[in-house]
Symmetry: C2
Subunit: 358 residues, 2 copies
């Protein structure tokens, strides 16, 4: 907290700066903007591993195989990679994802990159960690569709994963387990960091991003977007109501969906608490420029339109086209490369898998 004296001092300084006008050099402005950015954003950490889920090279390697493995699903075609595809920057390019047996999922798939840093998984936040997400996906009728963990484990053994699990989970009596499936996949996912030009900027390399991107970051902060979209993942650390100043379903292209299917009540579906109605996890904005379409229902196809919708429905502002362009330039500076270990397909066990006469 600032003392009132300090506040007065800062206010005077700001007034003086405005009065000085052209006396403030471009360099000062650049540094001031950088400092403001540093106040709300952080560079990505160097690792996402946590002690709760100890990892090893063998676990990461196994987790990568399992991430791409389709034979554990009830139609033999579903895998983590089906919705988190290397060709689509860890997402799937669809408005609504498609699950096992071709069933339509109720929400849009976000990118898998950097997700272990988020407050929780899924738009409703009903999975605390990526490990819990991977674990429960085994039984979800929309994801892997197994009737029991035993069924999934039996498939893993039949495919021939016994040795890989034993190497990844040494000294365990029965290493092939749904719990270890989840820990291994989590170990792999915890390697999927995507540092971006914006991180270099935050670390002091002013020219790592364009002038438009720098101005866009400043605009993003000043408009209030950074109130929710902040931290190292530029969002993903809180739940907020979707449609604060206006009704999302009436104001956007989701009207038809609201009429047909009812409104997605967000976190309410998970907590059954009235106060969670229409609350959704604030999405991270890392790689947002590479992962359209937008919002939990994929209802908006273009990033500039998504920025307009957010300004209107969350902040009650009509944003000018030049400002949209600046913010889009900033968002683009959050795009990292597809991690090499994610872009290269693993060679999966070859096995005459008796169970997959799908």
């Amino acid at each position: 907290m600032l003392s009132s004296k300090t506040r007065l001092f800062l206010a005077c300084t700001a007034l003086l700066a405005v009065a000085a006008g052209s006396l403030v050099s471009a360099e000062d402005t650049d540094m001031a903007m950088l400092e403001r950015a540093r106040g709300v954003f952080k560079p990505l950490p160097h690792t996402m591993h946590v002690d709760d889920y100890p990892h090893s090279a063998a676990r990461v390697e196994l987790g990568k195989a399992l991430f791409f493995e389709t034979r554990v699903s009830s139609d033999g075609r579903m895998s983590c990679a089906a919705c988190h595809n290397p060709s689509y920057h860890g997402a799937d390019s669809l408005a609504l994802s498609v699950g096992v047996h071709g069933t339509k999922l109720p929400r849009n798939a976000p990118t898998v990159f950097n997700t272990p840093l988020l407050v929780a998984q899924h738009y409703g936040g009903n999975r605390a960690t990526v490990e819990e997400q991977a674990y429960k996906a085994l039984l979800s009728p929309l994801a892997y569709g197994n009737a029991s963990f035993a069924e999934a484990e039996s498939k893993l053994r039949a495919i021939g994963y016994g040795e890989s699990f034993a190497a990844a989970f040494p000294n365990e009596v029965e290493p092939v387990s749904a719990e270890n499936w989840a820990i291994a996949i989590g170990a792999f996912e915890r390697t999927l960091l995507t540092p971006a030009p914006f991180d270099k900027y935050l670390k002091g390399d002013i020219n790592a991003i364009s002038k438009e991107a720098r101005l866009g970051a400043d605009k993003f902060i000043n408009m209030g977007c950074a109130g929710c979209h902040n931290g190292s993942t530029v969002g993903g650390n809180s739940f907020q109501k979707f449609g604060i100043t206006e009704d999302y379903w009436l104001a956007t292209g989701s009207k038809e969906m609201a009429l047909l299917k009812g409104r997605d009540k967000g976190r309410y579906h998970d907590t059954q608490k009235e106060e969670d109605t229409y609350l959704f996890k604030v999405p991270q904005l890392r790689n947002v420029a590479r992962t359209p379409p937008y919002f939990h229902d994929g209802s908006v196809a273009k990033l500039d339109d998504a920025v307009r919708v957010m300004a209107r429905l969350q902040l009650g502002q009509k944003i000018s086209d030049p400002d949209v362009a600046l913010i889009v330039a900033f968002l683009d500076s959050l795009s990292g490369e597809v991690p090499a270990q994610f872009a290269t397909a693993p060679v999966l066990p070859v096995s005459g898998f008796e169970n997959n006469k799908n």
Copy 2:
């Protein structure tokens, strides 16, 4: 043609060799086996490109992107790579493949590797080239499920492939076309050669494959397998009846399928000619050890069982377990590596694709 004098000389030489017995050195035997192998098999060629479908680096690059592109399909999830997956050696590991909207396909997906060398595409041979296969897949209700080529072309434009098509097909008035989609995908597929240890062997490096594999190749020839499975792709160059000495559907695990769905009449479905009943393209055996399950219906899970079924139903022979092991060793020597350009996922165009509100 050999003169009768020469034949007599060769016959005598053979008799002498047999009489000499232990005088024939191991090296002579090795060379004789290699010569026999060279009589029926050929190394893979260096290229699969043909003048009919001229290619360029830009075409191959575009073709790779299109191979992995899902947004052209009617459910937004189907691509060539769905059934021809880098993690499963260019196949999908399933008995029967799964098409668009989760529909079950009637047959097993073969590996895509080396397929431009085959006599035709599909088990019934109803596609003359890989290009024709890619072209017609756009409209197949089991593959991409588009209502018209115009629909597919419009999706390609909306996704943002205009420039890539223009680069790959310069000087064309409208480069984005279903025909060019097919030519580009074909150009990529024509790079997917998988040279294997057996090729080195054929070129004279005796120890490139194990002794068991060499003996297995000889056994494969002597038993008659090579009557159909020959040439550079060890099969794939003719159509043959499935079940010559015994009825396939009665003799194998496909009984149930025959009762439930009727028998797959193979090429008859494509030609409507009685003489084509139960005729199927002889599969190539390159990478067969890496691409279970086996046969057009994926009814057999293990390679050794597949060898036994073939010996029984095609040659009327009961084959000993040691001989099965030798032949499996030979077949394993036909496995090549997944081509690097296939294992690395392309980064696909990012676009707010308005049409994919699937």
